[in-house]
Symmetry: C2
Subunit: 421 residues, 2 copies
């Protein structure tokens, strides 16, 4: 398949028509399309890897960092993982048609609140070609159409993968326009996509702050901004120090470049002297650059800790760097998190149930962890099969955006001639 | 109480602090505040009516239409109705703390998804002072704070009512800043309120298209646009003609100035000859100006029907005017509704269950009625006690915005040291 040559508006209009068919497709039909997708991914492995090799050899990929090249690269294992992911989505419950509520109103109307697909989902993403398949699988199963806009340097890989999904849709008797891939088109193309009011029901940007800022300026369609994560680990006075060390280390270092990695470590004054030297030693040992407030620096033991600047408390480092502060109480920790956090993922380590509940209730975030790493905020970990993004907004959906988050509802009221008096 | 003299930002910041207390207030405490509000409304009736009389006598109210003066005017009955409304909200179930989901993840984490308040709700409204009390009651019970911005010509009435609610909050031991009333401040004040990112969690405009357009230009906080309603009644081939006449007449004329009133009547070709003369006669008899397509005009019998212009199909008349078209099939009706409708409320009249289900599934709207008037889309009719607005957006909430729609959720994951491998 060539990257869609028609205009953005035409592509979105075709997706809207397809969405009306997908919305009413049976679970069996949608699962058949997903099954065919998984099978075709395996059958077309060679073609897909050829397309990917061409992308990697292209001059557009020459300037990429090693990390980005790795994210772009496919191999047999990654293709197999995509197929397995599609089968996992097929195995999940179909959210469409779920009756959310039913009651008889005073007027005698039988009021049903039923889950329906949103319609057309647009996803703007970078680098990883597997996003093409993951997102298409989630939208197909949830009865939506999808308009994908990947990176130009992944163009051939994305096209090969979208072609597989479109062939699978046709095999299942579903409209191919339910999965469309747009050519990049630069900032202008992005603006065109973000202003398709009435055609695009939700736009999900998966990318950095530059992409989000560009969208905030122009978007008129609903946008769900994927989260920036300034996440905290708070070590309470009654924490198990060994557990706290493991959690802080994991939250910071297991994958520092992602949004649910921790950026700040808050340590209760009552445990600071006992906890800090070893914990900071762990972090330094893992190559983490540390900055701290005065109390932290005084209690650092042998660990090297720079002086924290005011902006460090508001920074999503996305790197092996961590800010560390001592707080005087759980109230102080909650206040620090609510002032500096981005509402993503926050953790407390404590053996006190009371402290855990106070932190969980007081912190305003999508996810709060008690005695666990912040790294678990993820659609796959949450049993959603996959995620199309992650939200720190409060409206509609918070946290991982899975199939259910790609739906809305409709009221259907059945009567026998009711009129309003 | 004087209208809040502090800045918009200060008022919103104080509301945010109060919201954190409200979020954790018990149901009993919130109900005590609502009970006190109802009691104080009754006790302060004379004061409230004096303030309202001063508003009505003010030169700012001199230019108002008779309809707007009527909406502004209070009397003993309207004050009593407000008190009854507050007691009705108190009697509803508290949405906060509801466990929406709970499961044990593969990692062993105990994941709970729990309903929490949104935080600070801002409401911009016109004329009717009872909105002050209705909205405050809904936000208090749902654990939110509210920042109200009413019309300048209702300033004294709104201030008297807000003072009652604030006194009731204090009586229940809750922070008064949970209910704040802003002075108008014109377009500049509106823009200031609409850009309080991090303080205002949701802004709900209750007003005309001018207000919405003004907000779309400036708002950076989440806005839920109250609906424009271009609603349809479709009379299916197998409709009971008498029922269809009653429903069409009610949907158009029972209260033509509201968003759930019908603007267009669609009549299936198979029933048009039998149905149209009498139905159009009813509407003309009720003073409705009719415009129609050629087939309608040919079958109108004695009723006067003008020629419909293209824009009539997209118009929310909000008046005793209706556009009428003949459609060839249920598919044609669904297509017309999806092309011209605003996703608010749509009705089909039919004795065929199959046709009803096809229409309900095919129409993309917040509410679909089978054999009932579109006029039922309303928080009170839906058993939500009241509504703070009505949404035709698909994200977060569709249809009446009640207490539950003023909440979001939070994931709380409890572990015993889980880290991500």
């Amino acid at each position: 398949m060539a990257v869609t040559a028609t205009s953005v508006a035409d592509t979105c209009a075709a997706a809207k028509r397809a969405a009306r068919v997908l919305a009413r497709a049976s679970t069996a039909t949608k699962d058949a399309a997903l099954g065919a997708t998984a099978r075709l991914l395996e059958e077309r492995e060679a073609e897909i890897l050829d397309a990917n090799a061409a992308d990697l050899a292209d001059e557009r990929a020459a300037g990429l960092s090693e990390a980005l090249r790795d994210r772009l690269a496919l191999d047999a294992g990654r293709v197999a993982a995509m197929a397995a992911g599609v089968r996992a989505v097929a195995a999940l419950e179909d959210p469409v048609g779920e009756e959310l509520e039913r009651k008889t109103l005073a007027s005698g109307l039988d009021l049903q609140k039923v889950r329906v697909p949103l319609g057309v989902i647009a996803v703007v993403y970078e680098a990883r070609p597997n996003v093409t398949v993951d997102c298409a699988a989630l939208t197909i199963k949830s009865g939506n159409a999808i308009v994908l806009r990947g990176s130009s340097y992944a163009e051939r890989s994305n096209a090969a993968l979208a072609a597989v999904v479109r062939e699978a849709l046709a095999e299942a008797g579903l409209p191919q326009d339910a999965v469309a891939l747009l050519a990049g088109g630069g900032r202008e193309g992005l603006a065109e996509l973000a202003t398709q009011e009435g055609l695009v029901d939700l736009l999900i940007p998966r990318g950095g702050e530059g992409l989000k800022a560009a969208l905030k300026d122009v978007a008129t369609v609903p946008v769900m901004y994927a989260a920036a994560g300034n996440c905290h680990v708070y070590v309470h006075a009654e924490a198990d120090p060994e557990m706290a060390r493991r959690i802080a280390l994991n939250a910071k270092t297991q994958r520092p470049g992602v949004c649910n990695a921790a950026e700040t470590l808050l340590v209760d004054a009552a445990i600071a002297e006992r906890f800090l030297p070893a914990a900071l030693g762990d972090l330094r040992g893992a190559g983490v650059e540390l900055v701290g407030d005065e109390r932290v620096r005084a209690l650092a033991g042998g660990a090297e800790v720079g002086a924290a600047e005011a902006e460090d408390w508001d920074s999503e480092f996305l790197a092996l760097k961590m800010a560390v502060a001592v707080v005087d109480s759980i109230e102080g920790a909650v206040e620090h998190v609510n002032r500096h956090g981005t509402g993503h993922s926050e953790a407390i380590v404590t053996t006190s149930e009371e402290a855990a509940e106070e932190f969980a209730a007081g912190v305003d975030a999508a996810a709060v962890y008690v005695n666990a790493s912040t790294r678990f905020t993820d659609g796959f970990e949450y049993g959603m099969g996959a995620e199309i993004g992650n939200s720190t907004q409060k409206l509609h959906a918070r946290g991982p955006i899975g199939m259910r988050e790609l739906t809305t509802f409709k009221y259907v009221a059945r009567g026998n001639g009711q009129i309003r008096e």
